[in-house]
Structures are given as C-alpha cells and as structure tokens.
Symmetry: C2
Subunit: 215 residues, 2 copies
Amino acid sequence: MKVEILKNITSANDAIAAQNQQVLDKHNILALNIMASPGAGKTSLILQTINCLKGKLNISVIEGDVASRIDADKIDKEGIPVVQINVGSACSLEAQMITPALDKLPLDKVNLLFIENVGNLICPAEFALGEHRKVVISSIPEGDDKPAKYPLMFTLADVVIINKIDLLPHLEFDLHNFTKTVKGINPKVKIFQVSCNTGQGIDEWCSWISSQIKK
Amino acid sequence: MKVEILKNITSANDAIAAQNQQVLDKHNILALNIMASPGAGKTSLILQTINCLKGKLNISVIEGDVASRIDADKIDKEGIPVVQINVGSACSLEAQMITPALDKLPLDKVNLLFIENVGNLICPAEFALGEHRKVVISSIPEGDDKPAKYPLMFTLADVVIINKIDLLPHLEFDLHNFTKTVKGINPKVKIFQVSCNTGQGIDEWCSWISSQIKK
C-alpha cells in the first residue's frame, strides 16, 4: 500500500511538473534543478554562476530549504530575484511548490532559473519540478563512495559537479573511482570539476550553461 | 490527508520502536542512533569508537544505506558483528527494519549497539528506532548554518558531534555561531569536537559512552 500511495503522489507530481515546464518554455527559460547533500555547495555554485554570467543572462532563483531564509538572503544581496520556499517536514521540493513561486518571478525577463533543492541525496531524485536539466553536486569531503550509495540521484543527473576540488590534496578521495562509478550507472552524464572557493572550473561550467540557453 | 497518513505511519513506527527498546533493555544494551548528512563521518566515527573501546565493551553495528554494503564491509573487517540494511527508496531507517536485524546479532554478548542511519538530515529525525540516545554528526565542510536549516534533527539530538575539526583552519566555519544555534534550540545537548582523521577528541567521546553503559 505504501508503494501504491507513493506511485500516486509521484504521478500527480509529474503532471504538475509538466505544466511548470510549459510555463518555463513559453518564456524561453532554461531551468536547472540543483541537488546535493547539505553543505556540498549548492548556494555557493549559484553565487559563482551569477558572478560569471551577470550582464550576459538574466537569472532568477528559487530556494528550497526545510527552514530559514539564509540562502535566499545571500542571493538577494546580489540583486537577483529570489523566492524562498520552506518545505517544513517534507524532504524535497515538489512540483506544486514551484507553481506559485513562478508567479512571483519576473518570467518575461528571465533566461536562466536555478531551483536549489533541499539538501538531501534521496528524496529530491523522486520529484520532477519542471526543470530542463538535473544537476547534482558532490563535494570532495563527502568521499568518493556517494554514487554507489545514492545511485538513483546519480543515474538521473544530466550533470554532476565535483565541488571543493581545491581540498583534494588534503583529503582521501579517489577521483578515478568516483568518475568510473558515475559513468558506470550514467554513461551520458557530463562531469565538471570546480571549486566555488577558488573559482577553478567555473568558467567551463558557465560556458556549458550558455550553450544550453534557449534562443 | 498526507499529514494524517504520516501521523499514522509514525505512531505505528513508535510502537515498534518501543518494542525494540524492550529487547535492548532486556539484554542491557545501550543503543545509539547515529545520524548525519552523507559523508559527515558516521562510519568513521563508529570505526574510531570501536578502536578505542575494543576489549572494554562488546560492540555490534546495524548499517543503514539506500544501497551497497560498503559501510558494513568496513565494520566486518574489524571483526565486529554487523547487519547491513538497504532501505531502497526510503529516506530513513524505520523501527520495523531494526526488529529483524536485532535477531541476527549476538545480543547476549553485546553492551553497545551503533545504529548508523541513512545519510540525511531530514527523514531520520522523524523515525524512532528504539535507540537510547540520538547522536547527530555535523562536519566542518558542511558549514555552520546546518542547525538553522535542519532544526528538528538538532532539536531532538542528545549529542551533537562536530567532526573534521582538523579542517577548521582551512575552511570558513563559525564555531561560536554553530554552538550558539544548537544550544539555542536544544539547551541540554552535549557537544563534542572531534576529528576521525587525527583522532582528536575521540577519547572524550569514548569516556562519555562508557559513562552511559548499563551495568
């Protein structure tokens, strides 16, 4: 019965996600669903991307968190339109939460929308939001075994970003093992190595985003 | 309706958790539910604790993961009885998963049971397993804002362990802000600073465990 309920919930979610995507497509907006463990660097990556694409693209952000406005406040400081969603006892953003958030953004003026999901490697994989690409961040201090331990998230990803690459000399992390595991379960995935601290690899990531933007 | 279903699920879970605790009490076993983000150091802490308490206490471990036996294999190498539970699409261990795992352990010979939960700061807070203490690990690379972002987990904790303290000089982490936020929502919580890499603080943590063991 539990499985049946879950199936009904995700079907209903998928229908709303498809509607959200229609709204985004109508406005020629590329939406990226950013997913990761707590503290892997989701907000830091968005801030670095804003920094490198400001003036070239019009960016907006939807921030998902269990509680607090900490992340939204950081985006707001950059002068970027942002909507904070607090999910309370839920463990992921869901498509129905995105619909009213879209209404609060200046969609006519947006090219690129970041949807920062709740910090969690499990639940967010199960809920489509209407995004065009799923981006998973994994950071060096988390260890190289995460793709084997949370396979669904890494199987569904269009892009995997390895963040905090500047910490590689200080920590045990087998980059070859990580990449091999990810490519084994998801051969088509694109992988970027970045440091949101030093800026390493951010230009390449921003070039990729620019190549995906709808004309 | 969703809330009602959740309430029914957690009540049923709590009843089974109480039964698990009775089994543990009958055998004079102290059970610790270890919870954290992916990669915060749950298995590393258990391995360090095994290292410092081996010969003094009889330890067993239940390992919870979405997939893989990576963590159980590490424990098994130490000659410690271990049961791996793979939760599949669930985002937490639940009490009903612990009951059959207890049957597989040599309970008559155990003083201390670690239950390593799934890597997640949200769902595991909602499911009692039968444990006597809830231990939450937060690591320096995750940032000092996690207690504000995941308040339920830090409110319910009996112990908060700040791991990877050796990385403090290399990363931005406001220890005072972290501690103040945790104590603000949970004044009675006990906080340890450790590094499972260098061994710093592990003795103090092991002394605390010894003080909690049932005679």
